[in-house]
């Protein structure tokens, strides 16, 4: 389908990319659940990188512009880094909620999760002290 090839294709990808980015942003900004937000963040990342690629393609006829692709790769790497950090933070925050809302239910459960929780935080021993 030549629509997706050559000059017209770049325009389409541009449109598609910006659509995905806008949808991701709306979802990111309005979602209440943290994890949903994290996912939406990635969607926005992908959308914007798509826009970038289409921009690169549109400029020259041959292969997309090398600098732009470097840009895209870095963007990808950084979004992954942020997602990792976000995931750790969400786990910690969820950890506190669980400890607060369900203290009696499974004392051992709690023990396990907090134990697991604490073992995982290898370098955050002083936090424990601070929590008291």
């Amino acid at each position: 389908m030549e629509v997706f090839a050559g000059e017209g294709a770049a325009l389409w990808y541009l449109l598609l990319g910006s659509l995905v980015a806008v949808a991701g942003t709306v979802r990111l900004l309005l979602a209440r659940d943290l994890l949903a937000r994290l996912v939406a963040m990635n969607v926005v990342g992908i959308g914007s990188l798509l826009v970038l690629l289409s921009l690169g393609a549109r400029a020259e006829s041959a292969a997309p512009d090398p600098v732009l692709s470097a840009l895209v790769i870095t963007g990808l790497v950084i979004t992954v880094a942020f997602t990792g950090l976000g995931a750790v933070l969400i786990r910690r925050i969820e950890g506190i909620h669980d400890a607060e809302h369900a203290p009696d239910q499974a004392a051992d459960g709690d023990q396990i999760s907090s134990g697991q929780n604490s073992s995982e935080q290898d370098s955050s021993s002083t936090e424990g002290g601070r929590d008291s």
Binding site: T25, L29, L30
Partner: protein, 627 residues
Amino acid sequence: MTELLFALSFLLPAGAAAAIACAGLLSPSTAHRVRRRAGLFAPSAVLPAGLLALSGEAELELPWLMLGSTAAVDALGRPLLMIAVLLYGAALSSITWLKLRDAERGSGALSAWLLVCFCGNIGTYLAADLVSFYLAFAVMSFAAVGLVIHYRDAAARRASRIYLFLSVFSETLILAAVVLLGSALLAPSEAVDPEFDDGGAPDAQESLLLEHVPAAVMDSPHTGLILGLLLVGFGVKAGTVPLHVWLPLAHPAAPPAASAVLSGAMVKAGLVGWLRFLPLGEDGDAGARDAVEIAAWALVAAALTGAFLAVLVGVLQKDPKVVLAYSTISQMGFIAALVGVGLLVPELAALTAGAAVAYAVHHGLAKGALFLGVPVVKHYGHGRTGVLVLLGMAGAGAAVAGAPFTSGAFGKYVSKEAVEGVTVLGVGLEDILPWVATGSTLLLLRFGWVMWQAERAPRRRADGELLSWLAVCAAGIAVPWLIGAQWMPEEELPAEPPTWEASVLWDAAWPILAGLALGGAVWALAARGLLPDWASRADGTVIAPGDLIVAEESLAVRAASGTVRGVEAAHRGLEDRSRSAAEALLSAGRRVRSWATRAETRLSAWETSGLVLLMVLAATALMWWWG
């Protein structure tokens, strides 16, 4: 030599007063000893001024003091300086040269205040420039408060409060006059006065001299205003009628020695003020002339009413010192009339000034003797010294009344000559003046009667009080003649000295005789109880001492409370408005704050801030698209 005398005559009394004041710092016993010794020394502190008066006319210039001050002993100041020295010396000695047990409580403080008053008083006589005159006048009037409040009882407090209020009032008016005159003197006057040779703004010190003041009054644009200020300002001190109310209250409240000085020397300061400042014998443009006319007539009218009304009220008083106070008011009315005439008729200016000074000298000494006599009669009025006391008091009384052969006659003669040919409401002034003598005779009879009945507290041995009284009586007889003959310049005296032929004697005698006759008649009626009740109860209840003061006080209180209420209302209005403005501001501030916090709380949720961000993004895209 005169510089030394000038300095000493001011510094010695001031030093003594300072010694007494600082004594308070030492331990009580040493303080008492210091005060006692300073008190004894006090009368002699007055002597340098006496020597200065005797040593004749002199001048002292101190360019560095205040705004450049000069002092001068001139024909006008010298006699008054002499009586001031005598009176203050006598008063001080009558307080301090007593046995310890007789001395009043706090006599040290009283002598200190007297010394300060003395400095102020001779300062007014000797000052030759505007600023030092005002300085001396202020020092004298504010030190006098110390004298009046001495006994610290309710009457003394009320008297001193009224005196303080009136003296502040007079100080302010005189300050206004001084400032107006100062600016007229300092301004580079268009008509360059020949004396200011350097043409440009004459340097401040030289131009502030009092000699130039009368001329400045005439050619300054506010002549009428300045005249009014001077008349009222010095009138308070000279006890002219509407402003005299403090005199009858101050004298009974103050110790006798102090009241002797008050009416003897201090009241004369008002006279000196008039003689130095008023444009006596100055000619000026038409506007100034008729302003002077009005002022002169006002002064003469006030003086004469004062002279006669004081007699009426004085007769009805019980306290001897109040009677004497009213006699002072009437005598000062007499002198004020002389000054008024001098102002009215420029040619007579020199004559009336001389007469006024002569009369002032006589009145000062005689009235001083009478005031000092009040305690003397109480302590020595019977037995061996009784006769002496009786003679002295009678002599002083006769002098005040103006009986022939006394200084009073000389004073009256001189003033009658001076006012030849001046008619008031068609009646010749020289006919009115003798009636004042009748009035004062009546007053003195009343005084004698009241003194006769006053109770006695015999004191055995003669002490400072008696001796100083005797000295003043002797001086009262000798000094006016001495001053009249030697010290007064020729042109200020009528053609020839009074030769005691029949006509002169009769002129002096008939007012006294009329007074005696009237007194006798009243006494006879009183004995038969035919007098109207208001006359029979002559115990000061009918008209309280200070007569007008009751009316004036209530007037002042009403006026003050009126203004305060008005200003208070305006102030409250101002405050309410500013408070309501502040409230409006505060509530606006609160509204903004509450709106801001509400927005904040809503924004704190993730979704809402996300929404806002979306809107911003959309707006930028729209702007770009629209551009």
